[in-house]
């Protein structure tokens, strides 16, 4: 390993950073919107215990995108179709957490295998192959970026409109149903929104790494905050910083974007965990009686 090569790979583009940034500005926008929306959706992903579902959906989304690549139709459309099929199957068959996990466990390798099959059959530009699995936002075409942004904004609008019933249902489905919340519709609606945002994330950081923007920011936020406003806001901020920071760092060199995003997101989580642990200790020493429960 040559340190000069590493330096070049990481920071070789610095002298022309301004020009590169102008070229990829649309990618930065897409990353920014995905980071924000992914952070918000992530809060519910954790509350509803669906981290594994996110992973399952992303593998089928990958299969959809690979199929689209093979038959020569729009890749974003393919990933959305794959995502929605997975989300619908999981939402329909896996109402209970236990059933859900086994269904996802069944779907995930099937989706991944299907995707790999399609990619092997595809003999177009090979750069496209890995980018679906590990992401390469800067190689997404401008027209598609526009779509990714539009879809993310739609998901944002959707999640805000069902915010309170969704929160009620996530916390206490029985009381929510008693209070008149249409819990089945809410669950399916959330699966639909989740499917859409996962499809977007597949293009930006890749099917294998989707959780870095859909689970990690919310998990980090929940370590340091507890308010119903502070947790989503913090989570959205963490997602935004990870996605935008990752892209801005990556374009300084020739390395892919995804490792930057996953590393920033992970670092934020580690810091939040340490802060949370310290706070927990302080709280316990202040109120020994509470620790018992």
């Amino acid at each position: 390993m040559n340190w000069d090569d590493v330096w070049n790979a990481m920071f070789g583009g610095l002298p022309v950073y301004g020009e590169i940034l102008a070229l990829v500005s649309n990618s930065v926008w897409a990353g920014a919107v995905l980071g924000l929306v992914g952070g918000l959706v992530g809060v519910f992903v954790i509350q509803r215990d669906m981290a594994f579902a996110v992973h399952g959906i992303s593998e089928l989304s990958f299969a959809g995108a690979a199929a689209a690549l093979l038959i020569g139709v729009d890749v974003v459309t393919g990933s959305i179709v794959g995502s929605l099929i997975a989300a619908a199957l999981i939402g329909w068959l896996g109402a209970k957490a236990r059933d859900r996990n086994s269904i996802i466990g069944v779907l995930m390798p099937f989706g991944l295998g299907l995707g790999i099959l399609f990619l092997s059959l595809y003999n177009g530009r090979s750069a496209n192959r890995f980018s679906l699995l590990t992401g390469q936002i800067v190689s997404v075409q401008t027209g598609q970026l526009g779509w990714l942004i539009v879809i993310s904004v739609l998901v944002l609008a959707g999640i805000l409109l069902i915010w309170r019933p969704l929160r009620f249902d996530s916390l206490d489905p029985q009381s929510a149903a008693a209070r008149g919340v249409p819990t089945t519709a809410i669950s399916l609606g959330f699966m639909l929104l989740l499917g859409l945002i996962v499809a977007v994330a597949v293009h930006i950081i890749g099917a294998l790494l989707v959780m870095a923007l859909l689970v990690t920011p919310a998990a980090a936020a929940m370590r340091v905050a507890t308010g119903p406003v502070s947790v989503p806001l913090l989570s959205a901020a963490f997602g935004f910083v990870s996605a935008v920071g990752g892209i801005l760092l990556a374009i300084a060199g020739t390395l892919p974007v995804s490792p930057y995003i996953t590393t920033i997101s992970f670092a934020i989580y580690v810091v939040c965990r340490m802060i949370g642990a310290r706070r927990g200790r302080v709280a316990r020493t202040r109120q020994p009686s509470r620790a018992a429960r």
Partner: protein, 276 residues
């Protein structure tokens, strides 16, 4: 609102109700009136359809036969503003992103679609509910670190959001210690007396309610018996209901039912298996 007749009408009226699940009849011919200010407890072994009865009153599940009216209006679907529902006390995950106050707030605005912006008056209403259930001291702490009793007080506050005329409580005291059981019952009872509300409460232990409960509906073996505690909690009555030798024993001021098939131990498992 228009004279004496309305005042005398029962808050909850169940007529000729029957419940069949998976081809099995849980019970039929159930008639029950609960008047304003009355507390009726529902007792019986697991799988006897107590929780399903609650769900039918809430409009979440249909009866196999019969009608239910609340405040004179037939039950059509969920979301009845006249009903407050208090669920079983299940501990919330420690990292739940809500403060105590927010749990109460779900009762006020948790069902509303649209941008999550509070309406005028919401904050005041929530503060009043928090005070009403004596949760002022812990309302701003994360719910996940609160004790089971504290969480259950907040759930009572949530259920009282619309000043319900009927309170449905499904095992509201499970896994609470005696002091918290009394605190939660006290809150339910205060709402009953102050607002002249009817209360229907499912429980597997009648002891915390003795002295407050007006009547008992005891369901077992596909049959039921309805009456005052003195009429129902007797060895001969329960033996007849179960078709087995059942003894009601007095230990100090507590009652113990001995010999009833399907005792409490298996309670939680079955309840979910059969009813959900």
């Amino acid at each position: 609102m228009t004279g004496d007749a309305v005042g005398a009408a029962p808050v909850l009226q169940i007529r000729d109700a029957a419940l069949r699940r998976d081809g099995r009849e849980l019970w039929s011919g159930l008639n029950l009136d609960v008047a304003a200010g009355e507390l009726v407890a529902v007792l019986g072994p697991s799988g006897s359809g107590k929780t399903t009865l609650m769900r039918a009153i809430l409009g979440l599940e249909p009866l196999s036969a019969g009608t239910i009216t609340v405040d004179g209006r037939p039950v059509r679907g969920p979301g009845n503003r006249s009903i407050g529902y208090i669920p079983q006390s299940r501990p919330l995950p420690p990292d739940t992103a809500l403060r105590g106050r927010d749990l109460v707030a779900l009762g006020v605005s948790g069902h509303r679609f649209g941008l999550p912006v509070p309406r005028r008056g919401d904050t005041k209403r929530i503060a009043a509910l928090v005070e009403a259930v004596g949760a002022g001291d812990f309302a701003d702490r994360p719910v996940g670190v609160l004790s089971g009793g504290e969480q259950q007080r907040l759930r009572v506050g949530q259920a009282l959001a619309d000043d319900p005329t009927l309170l449905l409580c499904d095992e509201p005291l499970t896994s609470l210690d005696l002091a918290n059981q009394q605190a939660v019952i006290g809150l339910i009872d205060r709402h009953r007396t102050q607002h002249d509300a009817a209360v229907l409460l499912v429980t597997h232990d009648i002891n915390p309610l003795l002295g407050r409960v007006d009547r008992i509906l005891y369901i077992a073996n596909g049959r039921f018996t309805l009456g005052t505690p003195g009429e129902v909690l007797r060895s001969d009555v329960l033996s007849d209901l179960y078709g087995a030798n059942v003894f009601v024993l007095r230990a100090g001021d507590r009652l113990v039912v001995v010999g009833a098939p399907d005792a409490e131990e298996s309670h939680h498992h079955h309840e979910h298996g059969v009813l959900e």
